[in-house]
């Protein structure tokens, strides 16, 4: 049971990161129906910029308290990423707003390659050990001596994610900017007729998503301890899947999807093997029982199928709820 609790903690932490990244995808998708394939790269840039700042500050005597270093690093990464996000939209997506749907998808892929290679030039191709400015302190969750723990870093990540998500929800559902965002998402031309400056709203949405991505990048890298110029790709992909799982274009959906994705991955890796252990069936066949004496973990699907598990859940959800968990069923009036 302790293992289960630990997996849950792992899953929620990872899920929080996914959720924050997924929000960026979902906002951009919601507003201009674009899968911003380069979003993962913005996450990576966030981690990298913060890395340089941390290294510089920590190297410069270390007079600053660790939390301050981390804060300064993140606060530097955020505007850099916002500018990158803004530029992405301005240079590569805006001119294609009326183009066939897949054209911006390809520019997004192109930009993703470009950003990766720029990062490669700046930060080398080696995996960078992410400075651990904050010493990890585990807190025990149960009475068992060697049981499940939650670390201060995990608590920080989960807490910060919740704060950011709440802030975003407030922004989108309680402010004029938020309403305008949703209106542009629905029908940009008419939104213009309501007095909304569409371009500004779209740019702002990109910048906002990029700011979240920057924070997510720092969280991810400092949690797992590495940053790499290609770290954004897989993370982005997972987060994008999470956004779809929750219902793309839907903020609450992205959060739910992110959390679920994190937990599915953790629990999937942790338990699929156990569930598909052929040795549970040794009663049925002697040959099997024989093999199981030597090898009690004759797992049909082990942690190697972790991603399969995640995608199967995704596909099942979409088969039964074609617009994702919380996606509005935009009924197509005939």
């Amino acid at each position: 049971m302790d293992t289960f609790l630990q997996q849950l903690v792992n899953g929620v932490t990872l899920g929080s990161v996914y959720a924050i990244v997924a929000l960026g995808y979902t906002m951009v998708y919601g507003i201009i129906q674009l899968i911003n394939f380069a979003h993962g790269e913005v996450v990576m840039l966030g981690a990298m910029v913060a890395y340089s700042v941390i290294v510089a500050l920590a190297g410069a005597g270390g007079a600053l308290p660790p939390l301050a270093i981390l804060a300064i690093a993140t606060l530097t990464a955020i505007p850099v990423c916002m500018v990158v996000g803004y530029l992405l939209e301005r240079v590569a997506y805006r001119p294609l707003r009326r183009a066939p749907r897949l054209a911006p998808l390809i520019t997004a892929i192109g930009l993703s390659i470009v950003l990766q290679n720029i990062a490669l030039i700046i930060w080398t191709r080696n995996p960078l050990p992410y400075p651990q400015v904050i010493a990890t302190v585990p807190y025990r969750l149960t009475a068992t001596p060697d049981g499940a723990t939650i670390t201060n870093v995990q608590i920080g990540i989960i807490g910060l994610s919740i704060v950011m998500m709440a802030g975003l929800l407030l922004l989108v559902y309680r402010t004029r900017f938020g309403v305008a965002m949703r209106a542009v998402a629905q029908n940009p031309q008419v939104a213009g007729l309501m007095g909304i400056d569409i371009n500004r709203i779209i740019s702002a949405t990109f910048a906002l998503g990029a700011a979240l991505a920057a924070v997510a990048g720092v969280m991810d890298a400092s949690y797992y301890g590495v940053a790499h110029y290609q770290m954004g790709f897989l993370l982005g992909l997972k987060a994008f899947s999470a956004a779809v799982l929750g219902g793309i274009g839907n903020l609450a959906g992205a959060m739910l999807g992110g959390l679920l994705m994190g937990m599915i991955e953790a629990l999937g890796a942790g338990y699929v093997g156990e569930l598909t252990n052929l040795c549970h069936l040794s009663g049925w066949s002697d040959a099997l029982a024989q093999r199981c004496v030597n090898d009690p973990h004759l797992e049909l699907f082990g942690s190697n199928y972790q991603d399969v598990f995640a995608f199967v859940v995704l596909i099942l959800v979409l088969v039964f709820r074609p617009s994702g968990l919380l996606g509005e069923r935009v009924s197509d009036r005939a």
Binding site: T3, P127, P129, E265, A269, G270, H297, G302, S303, Q306
Partner: protein
Amino acid sequence: GKEEPKQAAAPRTETAAAAPAAAPAAETITVKIGSAGPLTGEIAHLGKDNDNGVRLAIDQANEKKIKLGGKTVTFEVLSEDDQADPKLGPTIAQKLADAKAAGVVGHLNSGVTIPASAVYNQAGIPMISGSATNPKLTEQGFKDIFRIVGRDDQQGPAVAQYLESMKIKKVAIADDATAYGEGLANEVEKTLKAAGVNVVAREKTNDKATDFKAILTKIKGRNPDAVFYGGMDATGGPMLKQARELGIKAVFSFGDGACTDTMKKLAGDKNAEGFICSQAGLPVVAASKGFLDAYKAKYKVDPIIYAPFTYDAANLLIAAMQKADSPDPAKYLPDLQKISYDGATGHIEFDDKGDRKLAEITIFTMKDGKLDPIAVVKGGKSVAFADFMKAADAGTPSASTTAPAKADEAKK
């Protein structure tokens, strides 16, 4: 493009030069050595490292003004990026064949090396890989394909034997689901099981992962005494770090892909302390201080993993050419097959298949922030490093293949 005439021209001069009586003695010839590996993509840092190894060897050879057939040779490195993409393997091989490379060092991964090897074989160009560990590479029956790194089924058992010698009861095994990582882990698993060690978990992640908490938590639940991970330092380091964070106290062990200083940086000094890893051949630090210094002097960084092997591979090609007194593959190939050479990674001889003969495998541990050799495994036996060195000093046959001079360096 513009380069075509140049490329077409280059081999011509070379072939002319290779013809014995054609030129006066003062003439120099250019011999091209291919260096193939991923220079872009996920594991480009390793590819670059390999390339650096080759370049170092070639630079040194050029300084020596080697003569072949009476002519001074300028060696030239043709670096090709295979992007670690199996599909590109044959294309790159063909490019090197077209450019009339006299020999090739590469590629990095088995997945690329295997399809490429067929092309080298057809073109009759000797190829030596310093890092492709998949046994299949040399099982294809190609006479001109060699490797100087331990095969998975040599290295894997070695680590396993060492673990076994530590009297470990329960082991968890993980790999990165690549040909390298999986192959190695499979061999470790096989050997351990045969020795009656309980393998309590067999997990997989992937070579791009950063999150290992899920499988580590599962492993923790099984309470192993040791964990073996088949994979590279880029994933091995973070894994080690996360394991310690989760409170896993088991001994961590790795293959050569994670037998690097990078581990210390990625895992954190404290976490890295005490992990075990293996490397084919005799310890880098010991056997070839010369190589290490030269590498550091030239590139301002430490070699990552396989650079000493590719360095040796390039030197092997040159040595064979010198023996045959010709850069013509057909001429020097027999000499390459029969070669006996002391390199940065120890003594090298090839068996019939083109694999390194009876390679020693050294076990290291991270001690006080440094990779320390603790044992040498050879022919299925693990000998403590100090004992091995003593034996080498005494000139006991068990270490006869090691050049004493190198062992001396190691002692100090």
